[in-house]
Symmetry: C2
Subunit: 318 residues, 2 copies
Amino acid sequence: MSTIKDVAKVAGCSISTVSYALNNDKRIPDITADRIKKIASEIGYFPSAAARNLKKRNTDTVLVAISDFGGPVYHELLDGIHYQLAKNGYTMIVSTGVSSDNLLKERSADGAIITDIHISDETLTQLAKNFRPIIVLDRSLKDTNIYNMTIDNHAAMFELTKDIISKGYKHIAFVHGVKDTYDNSTRFSGFLEAIQKANLKLVKEYYGNFTKPSGVIIAHEILKATEQIDMLVCANDEMAIGIIETLQQNGKEIPKDYGICGFDDIELSSYISPKLTSIKINHFEWGKAVAKTLVHLLKDEDVITKKEKGILKIRESY
Amino acid sequence: MSTIKDVAKVAGCSISTVSYALNNDKRIPDITADRIKKIASEIGYFPSAAARNLKKRNTDTVLVAISDFGGPVYHELLDGIHYQLAKNGYTMIVSTGVSSDNLLKERSADGAIITDIHISDETLTQLAKNFRPIIVLDRSLKDTNIYNMTIDNHAAMFELTKDIISKGYKHIAFVHGVKDTYDNSTRFSGFLEAIQKANLKLVKEYYGNFTKPSGVIIAHEILKATEQIDMLVCANDEMAIGIIETLQQNGKEIPKDYGICGFDDIELSSYISPKLTSIKINHFEWGKAVAKTLVHLLKDEDVITKKEKGILKIRESY
DNA sequence: GTGAAAGCGCTAACAC
DNA sequence: GTGTTAGCGCTTTCAC
């Protein structure tokens, strides 16, 4: 490992001159700077992040904490965030689980974007004292240094449900994802508002965890239900897909026996039969908007955060 | 931001005592250690990664560089790597594009796992001089400090092709992914070996880039082909799916008009109709094995690296 | 059992 | 235009 000292030695100058040259300080004439850069590259020198971070008290890095790499919804979000961050000269690191905790606590980044329900509100507010800014995408959390840029689930689900009702469905059940999460609560509230405005009553509620397997289990409960149900509004696509598959395997037809819809518009949803009606979120654009906001925040500029809108994708499942 | 000095001040001791206490050095009696830990937590102190990394000259962090978050194959790999790394007390950071370059150059991690064809062999060998170990998953590269843990594409594709031939297919075309990549070359070579051993000749080669859209384009070329083709062996599932869809939209039946197969066994492959025959890679186990090897390497222990095997999944597409 | 002090590799204020 | 130097926040050697 070569250090700045090695470069200085070879170049026959002081380490500060090397530092200035490498950081394009205008005080160093181009001829000198070029010579030093050439030497640095010859001996394979690159400044150490650890040393620079310690001295400058910043990392030029942004952390994105996600719940897991397993779900189908993060790809475009991350691509969008990275696209915008790179454009602004920031490095993006992505982490999950205990790695996120470590990185956050030890301030391995200048700012963070959080979409991981496993990190508690308390942890976040505690963190936000030393570490700012933090943008949360998966909850509504008021605190200094914490900014909310969630999806407008309520409005989107309200529209979807209105459309369902307009098609004549009257015996509607709701399939919940993980309870007490922002996504589940707000999707449910949008649904409820539409139901109530139409003077309909909620026939039944099922409780899953946003995964396909939980949809499979719920489908079996649906098959045993004594209530009349003609429509299943699901808090996300993955559960909806598990339900569709299982219902079909048990001789039911969609949308003849049950109408169904999801949320997220994951890729699979346009492949299954019938194609699933859902709410599309443009995750790439959302990611770009979030990153752009974070960059402003990192520069201590004022920002106005707004919710990301979903787009109704009406297909064949009801 | 509180530092170790603040803790020392409150505790009425020196910073070295604080450091010892927080790092569970046995010289500090439990009573003192507990008191110091309590104070640290009260004032919200956490050691700075930058300072610790600089002093200790290591980060306890592993970098995983991937090409993009867009493809469907990385989730389980990353989950597997993270699972094993966390178990061994390492923090995992994931990066892509220019962020990977920055992180690698500046030694923001102790070791790296690379599966990003955008990083050149030259860059990697250059990097490996300052930064070790590096495990590559997407190429075959011999160099000090660089270890190869690729998928045994050749063997898997050889088996698949033998099965195809045994079903009586004689007019076989190959659909390439990105040229000169490890995955494409080795999958093609396994295919070729089986074809040649059966004294069959390769009817036609198509060139895509591992994505569904490139499959769509190729399907249109297939429809215009003058050669007789009854089987399409694709270098991955995504291209195969693009081809199937497009062929079907143009009135062709699979597997009646064309047999087809893929590689990777992505989730979608068991949903489409007909279900795609493919090679399944257990990405989670692969990730675990890779991480386990890296941990050994980080401890300067000897390792034997082996290729990950694929499993033939015969379904309905030929 | 505890503390003083050196030093990791940089940046940047200051001096010349 | 260049060099000297302090110091970022830690860990760890060496005294006591």
